[in-house]
């Protein structure tokens, strides 16, 4: 039953279009007669098809598909029928659903045919133009051709080995590789300098080993922060040597380093600390902190970068030299610093001294710096004590350090600047003679050891009007979908279709069709069937009136009408013989139907009242359709009984139908 329904469904549209053979047409007729819903659906489909045909005939176009040039050219390379057309079914469908693409395809087919007929003129060939020679020489200059040759299996043999090898090298562009390697090396060096594992031994104590000689690892690396105690705390850290001064303020570091420099001490300045050999710690501390005032400043535990606790240097440790006369201030620990390598704080002594009243305790705000504005201090894990000269930011000799992008060198001193933010700025070497040994401020020097990094960073891609971001260009573009080219006429469409489908083996199709339909034709006489056939849907009259094609729905077999013939070919219609007699019979039938209809109209009211229904009639092609609308819902048995009653009371013929609604 289900299969029957599917079969009927397949045949509905061909039935409406009048292309079914008589046998199948009768099957559909029967199905429609027995099923009112099916009849209603058919009538709706008929309207849709009519509307579609009228719309297309009036210039309406379906949405156009797009095909790339390559696809069209590929499809256009077809020399045979649609069957042999290269490409996928999708491509083919898109081709036939696009007017432009189909026109291009037709042109390509025509070109193909013309080329096959034409003998090319090989006599009048001009000289190769100069620009092509230039192109050729340009190609020769590049190793591209050799690359391809070397890697083409088919042509490996004639190429010498050296050429293949050179083409291999040609393929490798060394620049990015070298740049990557260099960047990697620099990065690893920076990481190594910044995050040196604590377990790796590093020399300390020897001035010659401080700073750079990481290779000779004899002792564990140590570092220390400035401490008020007599012995500097030594902890494992990333830097070699003993830290005698710690600060994030580079200007301050620089100033302090200059003091050591003036005393001919070897030291290393990293980004946040000054390191010296262990044996020089005491001397360095003396230089950095010694002052007659003897104030030592340390921080409390609160995270208050601005809070300063000063205390007498004497109380900080008996053996420790007096702290600097200048007020110290804490700049704050670096956010990058890990707890392990954070400076060790030794404020206990200072606090103890302060609480015992041995020194002054004061809180102050650090002076504002023009060259290094104070930044918010991150939370500290440990208290850090740092010292600096008092503001203004100048050396004791009054030399003001300004931010600079260049690192200057003192005579005899070597300044090396690392890469990136993680690098340390290191100074080592002997201080030139001529500076005082008394700890006084050094004389002004021709150039400063500038460790202030430049902030002048150019942001790429943010160029002004002269470069960088180009001005937006307004380009007039139009979407093809929005364009409304003039509609293709029906004649044109038909012509294109013929051109596109030319080359189909018409003979083969016709033979196949003939074979399929022969049996049908033998079985039935054409004329009576044609007379009984429902009228095909009216088509808008266009010059490209399509051939009527009769299709046998026996699963893929085509009956009659070779489908791929030009529309100008004779119409192959089933209705070929007995057309005149068929017309006469149809007229007689219509007359009879009209008579029946008149009788039914007369009896309608009475019959309707008697059966409790509403009735309407329609006569078409010699058949009368009775539409019945019952006033109550009927069961199947009641419906059948009603049909019988109505058929009897209204005097319906066998061909008439009753449609219950």
């Amino acid at each position: 039953m289900r299969k029957d329904n599917e079969n009927i469904e397949e045949k509905l549209i061909p039935y409406l279009e009048g292309v079914l053979n008589p046998k199948e047409r009768r099957e559909v007729d029967e199905a429609i007669n027995s099923d009112g819903d099916l009849a209603r659906e058919m009538s709706e489909l008929r309207e849709v098809i009519l509307e579609l045909r009228q719309g297309f005939a009036n210039g309406m176009k379906p949405p156009q598909e797009e095909l790339s040039v390559d696809e069209v050219v590929e499809l256009g390379a077809n020399t045979g029928s649609v069957d042999s057309m290269p490409g996928t079914s999708q491509q083919k469908a898109r081709l036939f659903c696009s007017d432009d693409a189909l026109e291009e395809y037709s042109l390509l087919r025509a070109l193909q045919e013309e080329m096959a007929r034409t003998t090319l003129d090989r006599e009048n060939v001009p000289e190769m133009p100069e620009f092509l020679l230039k192109e050729f020489r340009g190609l020769k200059a590049t190793p591209h051709s050799r690359k391809v040759l070397a890697f083409d299996k088919n042509r490996l043999s004639p190429i010498p080995l050296w050429r293949r090898a050179s083409s291999l090298l040609d393929r490798i562009d060394p620049k990015p590789l070298m740049a990557s390697a260099a960047a990697l090396m620099m990065l690893s060096l920076g990481v190594h300098l910044y995050n040196r594992p604590g377990g790796s031994a590093a020399p300390t104590g020897d001035a010659a080993e401080i700073g750079y000689n990481f290779a000779s690892e004899k002792k564990a690396p140590v570092s220390a922060t400035p401490s008020a105690s007599s012995t500097p705390r030594v902890v494992a850290g990333r830097d070699n040597g003993v830290a005698v001064f710690t600060s994030d303020d580079r200007g301050l570091l620089k100033e302090q380093a200059e003091k050591l420099l003036s005393k001919k001490l070897n030291y290393t300045v990293t980004k946040d600390r000054i390191l010296v050999a262990a044996k020089d710690v005491k001397q360095a501390r003396d230089i950095l902190w010694a002052d007659s005032d003897g104030k030592v400043v340390a921080m409390g535990k609160e995270d208050a970068a601005e809070k300063r606790i000063a205390r007498p240097g004497a109380a900080a440790g008996g053996a420790s030299p007096a702290p600097a006369a200048e007020e110290a201030y804490y700049v704050g620990s670096s956010g990058r610093r890990s707890p392990a390598d954070a400076p060790v704080v030794d404020v206990d002594d200072a606090l103890a001294a302060a609480s015992s009243g041995a020194g002054d305790v004061k809180v102050y705000s650090p002076p504002s710096r023009q060259d290094a504005p104070p930044k918010p201090s991150p939370p500290r894990h440990r208290e850090t004590a740092s010292y600096q000269d008092s503001a203004p930011r100048s050396s004791a000799a009054g030399q003001t350090y300004r931010p600079s992008t260049k690192a200057s060198r003192d005579p005899g001193a070597e300044l090396e600047q690392g890469i990136g933010s993680n690098s340390a700025l290191k100074v080592k070497g002997q201080v030139p003679t001529g500076y005082g040994d008394d700890g006084a401020s050094p004389p002004p020097r021709p150039s400063a050891v500038d460790i202030t990094p430049t902030n002048e960073t150019k942001v790429p891609g943010n160029a002004g009007p002269s470069g960088g971001v180009p001005e937006p260009t307004v380009v007039e573009t139009r979407s093809k979908a929005n364009e409304t080219p003039p509609p293709m006429s029906a004649e044109r469409r038909q012509k294109l279709r013929e051109l596109a489908l030319r080359g189909e083996s018409e003979g083969a199709v016709a033979d196949k069709a003939d074979k399929n339909t022969k049996q049908e034709r033998d079985e039935e006489s054409v004329a009576p069937v044609a007379a009984a056939a429902p009228p095909p849907l009216p088509r808008p009259v266009t010059p490209a009136q399509q051939t009527q094609t009769t299709v046998t729905m026996d699963r893929g077999r085509v009956a009659a009408a070779p489908p791929l013939v030009p529309a100008s070919a004779p119409v192959a219609n089933v209705i070929t013989a007995g057309a005149a007699s068929s017309a006469d019979a149809e007229e007689a039938k219509e007359a009879k139907a009209d008579g029946r209809l008149a009788r039914m109209e007369t009896a309608r009211q009475a019959v309707a009242q008697r059966n409790g229904v509403e009735l309407s009639f329609e006569s078409k092609n010699g058949k009368v359709s009775v539409y019945v609308r019952p006033k109550k819902t009927l069961t199947k048995a009641e419906q059948d009984a009603l049909r019988k009653t109505l058929r009897k009371e209204l005097g319906l013929a066998d061909s008439d139908t009753i449609i219950l609604r």
Binding site: E10, L45, V48, N58, R122, P126, S145, P563
Partner: protein, 199 residues
Amino acid sequence: MNAEEEKSLVDRCLVGEESAWSELYRTFYPQIRFVVGWKRWGFSKNEVEDGIQEVFTELIRSLPNFRCESRLSTFVDRLARNRCISHLRKKSALKRPKETFSVELEEGKGEEGMSRHHVISADGSPEGALMASEDHKDLARALAEMPEACRRIISLRYYREMSYQEICTVLELPLGTVCSRLKRCLSKLKSSIYSVGGT
């Protein structure tokens, strides 16, 4: 020139023989000239000359990528056709009407100061055409909203007016599938039209 000769010529060209390039030019100029200069393209003389140069330039650039898997003449032919279709599309895009347009009325050139307006309609009255276009607007919209497969099969059958067998060939589907799909698509279109019309 047979396939072997073509292969040898390509090798010589790629190795850098200048004479080989001249030979290549001499060999394929007539073919390219024929394709690009085909009258039905409608190209002017200058366009043809430019086209030949472009095809040769493209040939020189793409010859290193030519793998000798097909005939060189086929490759050249494909290049020439590609260029022609591209140029054709460019030209037709230029010819298409733009969004904005202006209307110029030649006032005062008719008789006795009358404006001269010509209304020419091949489809009968303009009102009729307008009515028809309004009638089909819903249909066109509903068709545009249909799934791709439905749109295609409806287009092939009712716009391209192909037979069922042709549709089977193009879509590579059996006849029964084509017919049942067409029926389903038309039912969908019907309900779509009603919904579009209702809204």
